[in-house]
């Protein structure tokens, strides 16, 4: 039936919404000889697209997810398969009402229409809803439903019509062959074997939804994704819907407190649930199409799991769902994809050259994911910054089945949950611990997890400092603001600024670039000049081709052909992959991951030199060990690589030793520091308070692909002569006035109309004094990219990109938080630190 081509420029596996969209966008970008393979029939091969409830709420806290959803919605609209219905999230509890205010505030940040409405207003929109059950709702008028199968068909057919795509339906992938001749010694894709024949190709894209891990494994890659059950029933015929035309007339209701939704589908009401126990189905256990009673991803309904939900649904819509003549006509345990952090898995797989992933995308992101992966595959910078979805972001331990399942289980019931921005996972911990982990536990460290690492956020042992700094700790009375936070962080901060602090930075990702071409490699990626003398430390940004931020990190030149890169744990895997992608093919540069070999302990504060000098015979004076240099020093019989830089605005060093010596180094510094007032300092200071007072930008917050070095205020007077990725774009950016300027704002008054003072945590929209959203010339809204206490300056600090008109010191603006506006003032426009603006402390 199918004429399977013997050769393809790329083989796309999976004809769900993602695979079809990807094929379409690749074709639009000029790709030819594409092959789309699916084991099922068109247009519904039996994956999750086929049973999706197909509704789209535009609101997401994650900017990336919001933008993917927005782009997808626009694509559905262009295809003519979007029906706007509006949607309401209802609250049964007061905390949920607060959450809905927060959601509407987030919606305002992104420019999404949303408003908090009363029970009566909800009932006006949804007349069959019992308003006495709810306290109110949030109305999102732009919610709608899509025909995702139709959308997929239209996109697939467009690619076919343009002659770019051949579709091989009913062909199961049996194997993905590789040979060991890719970059950095990695295997590389050579062909895809199917039941309809073998296709030679150097590129294979996995768009297989719940089957993705199984297909990826054929090529030797691990995708951290698990299928999990989402229960859904369809109740009908609904008498009220009998007279309606088309698929949907009434707004979709999310009964978020019960983890359910109710949405009209023709004559039926679909009721879906995320309330039941997490039911994980390993990809290998998914039945074949032939074995399935319905389809492979519509598994038999387990009524016991859903029964408790029936009563809740009935309570909300008693007459409509209580109609004895309306029956449960369809009920499934539908399979959906879940990842450990809830984000898709996009981009080139780190293990295999030519293997790409476009997995773990739902209907609301599908077309957008197809677009960004097509752009990425074409060597372009994706139009949506999908750094948080980079498939390379996971460490090996995070790709294990046990970890993925544990996080999926824990995350499942949070789907409609009220999730605090700093909320910590409970499962799968601890995995990666520092050599001084036990010492930290004894000090009462409160651990937050980053990239699998346990990092002390603050230390209970410092609680006594609160007395010393009473009146300067900026305590938070609102439970939400104080959750996952402690005034001890601010006490540690002040103690560090007064004396010095010891910071465990084990979570740093560290890798060495070595070899004759090492300089060329680092130069080709970094904005800063790296052809510096050995012993220099350079902080630099890395850009993408469009001049957006790809990474920021420090590089130590340890020798002529030896560079050590130090970067954050959260971004380490993706940064490592970026370097690996840009190694020369001739093997003249090598990349060696040192993360698990080296431990970093930071020592900062005005007394840091006193402490360090007391344990070393080496000269660590300002003249003897200048800022931005590194070298070996001897401490307590250990050879330590010391690097004089700072992320907290204090004199001090990062001290690097082999992991097994970390304990000894810590102990030596601890003993030497005690007389100088040394305290252990957590990441709460390192990552937030210390950083914000100094206006240091954080990757992922301020530094994203959407903004430029110019806008971030990080330009240097000169641009290095050597080429680097993004240089052309960067030069163009420098030639124009910025469309936005990164500013530090102070909150002038924390008092809400009622209740305790409120403290912003990030993500809130910045408004004009009149309450209007601020949007720059490029259409980018102003919102809080980072927020936190500035204990030394006595103010709550916000970072935000502002249009140039507003970006001047003293400008009065507002920030919206939980629906209320608070006055703020621009304290710094640009990169000048609010604390110690002359950087005297660092250079002392």
């Amino acid at each position: 039936m199918n004429d399977t081509p013997g050769r393809a420029s790329a083989v796309i596996v999976g004809a769900g919404i993602v695979g079809n969209s990807l094929a379409c966008h690749l074709a639009r970008l000029g790709w030819r000889d594409l092959v789309l393979v699916d084991k099922g029939p068109m247009p519904n091969p039996g994956g999750s697209t086929g049973h999706a409830s197909n509704f789209i709420f535009p609101i997401e806290y994650s900017k990336m997810m919001m933008e993917l959803t927005r782009d997808s919605t626009e694509q559905y609209q262009e295809l003519g398969v979007f029906t706007q219905s509006g949607g309401v999230e209802v609250a049964r509890t007061q905390v949920r009402m607060d959450e809905l205010r927060r959601r509407c505030t987030a919606a305002k940040a992104w420019g999404i229409p949303a408003e908090v409405i009363s029970p009566a207003e909800v009932a006006k929109l949804v007349p069959y809803l019992d308003e006495s059950v709810i306290l109110g709702g949030a109305y999102f008028p732009t919610v709608g439903v899509v025909d995702s199968l139709r959308a997929g068909t239209l996109m697939r057919e467009e690619a076919q019509r343009s002659g770019a795509l051949q579709v091989v339906a009913g062909a199961e992938v049996l194997g993905i062959d590789t040979s060991g001749r890719g970059r950095n010694g990695r295997p590389k894709i050579t062909s895809v074997r199917t039941t309809a024949g073998e296709i030679e190709t150097s590129i294979c894209v996995i768009c297989c939804g719940v089957w993705s891990p199984r297909i990826a494994r054929m090529a030797g890659a691990r995708l951290p994704l698990t299928p999990i059950v989402h229960q859904m029933i369809s109740v009908g015929p609904i008498a009220l819907f009998a007279g309606t035309q088309g698929e949907i007339t009434y707004p979709i209701v999310r009964d978020v407190d019960t983890n359910m939704y109710e949405r009209q589908h023709g004559g039926d009401m679909e009721v879906g649930s995320y309330a039941h126990r997490p039911i994980i189905v390993p990809p290998d256990d998914i039945p074949s199409i032939e074995e399935s009673a319905l389809s492979p991803t519509e598994l038999p309904f387990t009524a016991d799991d859903f029964d408790p939900q029936l009563a809740e649904a009935l309570e909300l819509m008693p007459e409509l769902l209580g109609d004895e003549k309306a029956g449960i006509r369809y009920a499934i345990n539908g399979l959906i994809s879940m990842t450990p952090d809830g984000h898709p898995l996009l981009g080139p797989a780190p293990e295999v050259d030519g293997l790409w992933s476009a997995a773990a995308s739902w209907i609301k992101e599908g077309p957008g994911v197809g677009r960004v992966v097509a752009e990425w595959m074409s060597g372009q910078v994706p139009t949506v910054d999908v750094d948080e979805a980079n498939v390379a972001r996971f460490y090996p331990s995070q790709r294990t089945v046990a970890h993925v399942q544990a996080r999926a289980r824990e995350g499942f019931n949070k789907m409609y949950g009220i999730v605090h921005p700093a909320e910590q996972w409970e499962s799968g911990r601890p995995v990666r611990v520092s050599p001084v982990y036990d010492r930290e536990r004894e000090l009462g460290a409160v651990f937050f997890e980053t990239a699998g690492w346990e990092r002390p956020y603050w230390y209970a042992s410092n609680e006594s400092l609160q007395e010393r700094y009473a009146g300067r700790l900026m305590p938070r009375d609102a439970e939400w603001d104080a959750r996952w936070w402690s005034p001890v962080i601010n006490a540690e901060h002040l103690a560090m600024r007064d004396a010095c602090g010891l910071v465990d930075l084990s979570a740093f990702a560290i890798f060495d670039v070595t070899g004759p071409s090492a300089l060329d490699v680092v130069q080709s990626l970094a904005v800063a000049q790296l052809d510096v003398a050995p012993g220099r430390v350079v902080y630099t940004s890395l850009l993408d081709e469009r001049g957006g931020f790809k990474a920021d990190l420090t590089v130590m030149r340890l020798g002529r052909e030896r560079f050590r890169v130090v970067t954050g744990g959260a971004t380490g895997q993706a940064d490592l992959a970026w370097f690996a992608e840009h190694l020369p093919a001739d093997g003249t540069a090598a990349l060696a991951d040192q993360t698990s070999a080296q431990v970093t302990i930071g020592l900062w504060g005005p007394r840091a030199r006193d402490v360090l000098q007391s344990v070393t015979r080496d000269d660590v004076s300002h003249a003897g060990f200048p800022f931005a240099t590194c070298r070996e020093v001897e401490i307590a019989g250990l050879s330590v690589l010391a690097s004089r830089i700072s992320y907290v605005g204090e004199l001090g060093w990062e001290l690097h030793v082999p992991v097994e010596q970390g304990g000894k180094l810590w102990d030596a510094l601890w003993a030497a520091g005690t007389p100088h007032g040394l305290v252990p300092v957590g990441i709460g200071v390192y990552g937030t308070t210390g950083r914000l007072e100094k206006g240091y930008r954080a990757f992922g917050n301020e530094l994203t692909a959407d903004y430029t070095l110019v806008e971030a205020g990080m330009t240097r007077p000169k641009v290095k002569a050597q080429p680097f990725i993004g240089k052309e774009a960067y030069l163009a950016q420098r030639a124009e006035p910025p469309a936005a300027v990164l500013c530090t704002l102070t909150v002038d008054d924390h008092t809400p109309p009622s209740g305790p003072a409120r403290y912003m945590l990030g993500g809130e929209p910045i408004l004009s004094p009149a309450g209007e959203r601020l949007v720059d010339a490029k259409g980018r809204p102003s919102y809080v990219t980072s927020a936190g206490s500035g204990p030394s300056v006595g103010r709550h600090l916000l970072l935000a990109y502002l249009p140039p008109a507003q970006a001047s010191v003293g400008t009065r603006l507002q920030v919206e938080c939980f629906g209320d506006a608070y006055p703020v003032t621009v304290a710094v426009a640009g990169a000048t630190p609010l604390f110690d603006p002359d950087n005297a402390r660092i250079r002392s």
Binding site: D285, S288, E291, L299, T302, L321, G322
Partner: protein, 255 residues
């Protein structure tokens, strides 16, 4: 009208069934379970009869403890009472099943309002034995009609119809009686939400029937190796119409 409907818990299968490695059973690890389709219609028929005439629908099953799920499914559709005859881990054949049902009917006659009508499916989806209803009828000395697609029940008699080889066969006899029905006799309703909630709370009576060995003993199950057909193409466009008319004629549609 006191009606008992006999239902069976069977796995929900697709177009291809997986057999356990030992070849003794259907692999149900990824299967749901449901009432056998003909019996679903039997439940619906019984509920409709009592809606017209009043009375009680008792739903009986012989099966494992989990078969209570299927009894609750029937209760959600409007059955009033549920009886689980526990299989006790034995492999029950048609004769033993019939004997267990006969014992339950007799027990009910002795203790409470006796059943007037027993409804079963024409055959179970899984075993397809085609005989339990008839064996029950013989055991009770009741009249029996099978394969019924239309049923009229008056106070004390039934008129049952079925189609056979293009003709309609009508059976009329008095109650009590046994009727086995086929899909198409009615359109079974779906459970309503209130029905489902009622069913969840309902009690299930349980009895332990006496098992007996059978003369037909399974040695193993296997999947036949015939592939599913691809449609025979009659032609393209309007040129195919004569062939299509001939086909409809051969299928007996144009009579």
């Amino acid at each position: 009208m006191e009606i008992a409907v006999c239902v069976k818990r069977v796995p929900q299968v697709g177009g291809r069934i997986v057999v356990t490695p030992d070849g003794q059973d259907v692999d149900t690890r990824m299967s749901g379970f449901a009432i056998s389709p003909h019996e679903e219609c039997a439940v619906e028929e019984a509920v409709q009869i009592t809606e017209r005439l009043g009375g009680t629908v008792s739903v009986l099953t012989l099966g494992p403890a989990e078969a209570a799920d299927q009894l609750r499914d029937a209760l959600a559709l409007g059955a009033h009472r549920a009886v689980l005859l526990e299989a006790g881990g034995h492999a029950w054949g048609p004769a033993g099943t019939a004997a267990a049902i006969v014992a339950e009917v007799r027990r009910r006659s002795a203790e409470g309002p006796a059943y007037d009508l027993l409804l079963l499916g024409n055959e179970a989806a899984d075993t397809g034995d085609y005989q339990v209803g008839i064996r029950v009828a013989h055991g009770l000395g009741w009249p029996c009609a099978t394969g019924i697609k239309q049923l009229e029940v008056t106070g004390d008699a039934v008129r049952a119809r079925r189609e056979y080889r293009g003709h309609e066969e009508t059976f009329e006899f008095g109650l009590p009686a046994v009727i086995t029905v086929k899909e198409g006799i009615n359109l079974p309703r779906y459970p309503s939400l209130p029905g489902r909630l009622r069913a969840k709370r309902a009690a299930v009576e349980q009895y332990q029937p006496q098992w007996q060995p059978e003369g037909l003993r399974t040695r193993g199950l296997r999947v036949p190796d015939q592939p599913r057909q691809q449609a025979t193409v009659l032609g393209t466009g309007t040129d195919a119409v004569p062939a299509l008319v001939r086909l409809l004629d051969e299928l007996g549609i144009l009579k």
